[in-house]
Subunit: 431 residues, 2 copies
């Protein structure tokens, strides 16, 4: 048996403890698969005394993870600290300076500094793997970098945040409001006390920026991701979506267009005939479309100790097997800088819900605005009638350019008979 | 730029021509991803003069693929001839004897001789890759061998034959019979003139045997696969399935049980709440369940020139990058021989449809038989009434052992009032 691969782990939160547990539980199986033992030699975390339910004896403890990255007897440094700067970044830089390989689960770090780190890894002759940073246990980084490497990827999109998908699923299945489900998710520990990273689409945007780079050979451009979250999604819209044959999902989607690299995260209506519409609860799913392979979809749990540890350990096994794929699919120096396509150039169909005073002339006013902007209506639902309360009018709009739709909605919002800001949800074309 | 990887291709049918087209169309992209050019140097097929729409100049032509495997200036031999023995096998043996790597799309060859070939490749220090042999463009071999390698896999199952899935989808969507859709598929070239490999589940069984070996570290055991095809599926059963919240799919499923390795291909009822129920048309999908990662699903086109070429080229890129994972996930010498679990030990729920003469006492007779075999009925549908024609009675049976179900059905078939052989379709538990 060849020499063991020596592993030092920085960060012992849920994922770090899960990774230790996996490495210990499956040590024989992993050695058989990797062709050599995987041995944890060193560890660093904030509090040595905390009980994490894992054995830390025989491991060299470092209070300072950066010192560990330099000094530990290790071939691989596993960065599970998190955060886009600070110690996580310092650990990676120290590891590369010492010529060690890196495995990280840190999407924030990679979304902001990934291109530079990939470059540094290449210079150092080291591997930088980050499977766990995108869609948890789903081996989608490997799929884009290796399994689909024969293709020009024309589009990549997916459900990239399990918390949002869980909330949307619960809202629909249990007929509850966004706030109500979020409250419960926070009580149960499925959502953070400060939920913005999840529900405002930031976490999904970080993952999308990594997927786009892998798919299109472009430098990671997190700042170019257009982001809308799910706070504004109401049960009413979820019901209308079902009636119209759609399901509302928070999708991240990227493609190259004539206007540049399109990277977008927003809640949208997905045709129920597509399998991704049926990806529910905490599951993530990524669709990659290649010019030879066609549509491929990868689904699994996007977070949690087990799925994330699974991805971290797969990255470690690759290093043990001496697999060296470029971090972002091609040499970091060859990554292109692409301009961000403006959201105003988005082209697609739209669902629009207006709350209106139910009196003569309302529809005429609304349709006149759409006519002026050359945006055409495919169908309209107005069912409820009331002399006292606002009633919903739902419009399915034909495909048009987003800028025209936004101009129309701005004008419609000012109509006297329209009593709430209009709700607009994009109808996503997946074909 | 390092030396090119030199490739010799044996077999220029649809897949061979597609692979040549891909390698030519994306030559710069592939070189960037592989870190070196991929250069086809030699080719062998039956008819040199046939126009395949691809450029063959500058390639060394061999009439004899075995001679090519020995003599061509090549690092990799790509075997796209097909067939479980004959020239395909001889080409692989010759390539390994000459110390060349192999990429094959040949599921029949791998299902029957894969363990021995993996062993021979290991002895020769060569790579044997076969991504294209399982589920076309879906990188599921890589997922099991690498992306999910941190897990003990507890089950793998999927829709492994696109022709069957296409037929079942068309039957349901267009309300047509099996024979009718098969006829059309044959006219359009989607199904073979001799359709048995597809519709009798043999092709799916070959793929399942490969998936099971990768998942469980066992020697490939194609002869241990229990197989039923879709010829007996009627529109009537498809309609009842929909009504009961199921969809009928031809699934291949493998897991380790106390009775041995369970490898089964049969049409079954799949709960519509699972995304795999919505995988339609020519798509394949594979679900792998790991103890850390949980459920993962991989979906894509399972056949055709483009998807298959995508998988073949991914395998070639891995070789160009010098990635050397063991063919079947672990060293071939370590693969276990597992006994085949008998189908009589299957445990699950069942859908049973009887065609009966509508007269008093029929239901009493049927239910008495089930009672005698200790098999209990969950629900029953008898809707149609007729004094002259047989009417369907549909029974949803609680979970029981298959042997008891089969004994009951054998007895029920002999009842006077039961006028056709009973239809039994397993209700597959996916949770």
């Amino acid at each position: 048996m060849p020499d063991p691969l020596r592993i030092a782990i920085a960060g012992l939160g849920t994922v770090g403890a899960g990774t230790l547990r996996l490495l210990s539980k499956h040590d024989d199986l992993l050695a058989a698969r990797a062709g050599r033992p995987l041995t944890v030699t060193a560890i660093s975390a904030r509090d040595k005394s905390k009980d994490r339910g894992v054995q830390l004896d025989n491991l060299t403890w470092f209070d300072d993870p950066v010192a560990m990255a330099h000094e530990a007897e290790a071939d691989v440094i596993v960065e599970l600290i998190g955060g886009e700067d600070g110690p996580a970044k310092a650990v990676c830089e120290a590891a590369l300076a010492a010529g060690r390989h890196i495995v990280t689960a840190n999407k924030a770090l990679m979304a902001v500094h990934g291109s530079e780190l990939a470059d540094a890894a290449e210079q150092a002759g080291a591997v930088l793997n980050f499977e766990a940073a995108v869609a948890g246990g789903i081996p989608i980084v490997k799929a884009l970098r290796e399994g689909l490497a024969g293709n020009e990827i024309t589009r990549v999109y997916g459900i990239l945040n399990g918390t949002c998908n869980y909330i949307l699923t619960k809202m629909r299945e249990e007929r509850r409001s966004f706030e109500d489900v979020l409250d419960e998710a926070q009580r149960l520990g499925y959502a953070e006390a400060e939920p913005s990273m999840d529900v405002d689409g930031i976490d999904a945007g970080q993952k999308l920026a990594l997927l786009a780079s892998l798919a299109f050979g472009s430098r990671i451009d997190f700042s170019g991701v257009y982001t809308e979250g799910i706070r504004r999604i109401s049960l009413l819209d979820i019901d209308y979506a079902e009636e119209l044959g759609y399901r509302i999902k928070l999708l991240g989607s990227a493609r190259r267009t004539e206007y540049g690299l399109e990277q977008r995260v927003y809640p949208c209506m997905v045709d129920q005939r597509f399998p991704i519409a049926h990806v529910e609860g905490a599951y993530n799913a990524v669709v990659a479309i290649g010019d030879f392979v066609g549509d491929t979809m990868f689904q699994g749990l996007g977070a949690g100790a087990g799925p994330t540890a699974s991805a971290v350990v797969a990255d470690i096994i690759d290093i043990a097997r001496n697999h060296r794929a470029p971090t972002l699919g091609i040499s970091a120096g060859s990554l292109q800088s692409l301009p961000a396509a403006p959201i105003g150039r988005h082209w697609g169909a739209y669902y629009v819900r207006l709350m209106v005073s139910d009196r003569p002339g309302v529809i005429a006013d609304v349709t006149a605005v759409f006519r002026d902007e050359a945006v055409s209506i495919e169908s309209m639902i107005q069912r409820a009638r009331s002399e006292t309360e606002a009633v919903p009018v739902v419009l399915n709009m034909h495909e048009c350019e987003e800028a025209a739709m936004q101009r129309a909605l701005t004008r419609i919002a000012t109509l006297d008979s329209v009593v709430e800001a209009p709700t607009m949800i994009r109808i996503e074309s997946l074909a």
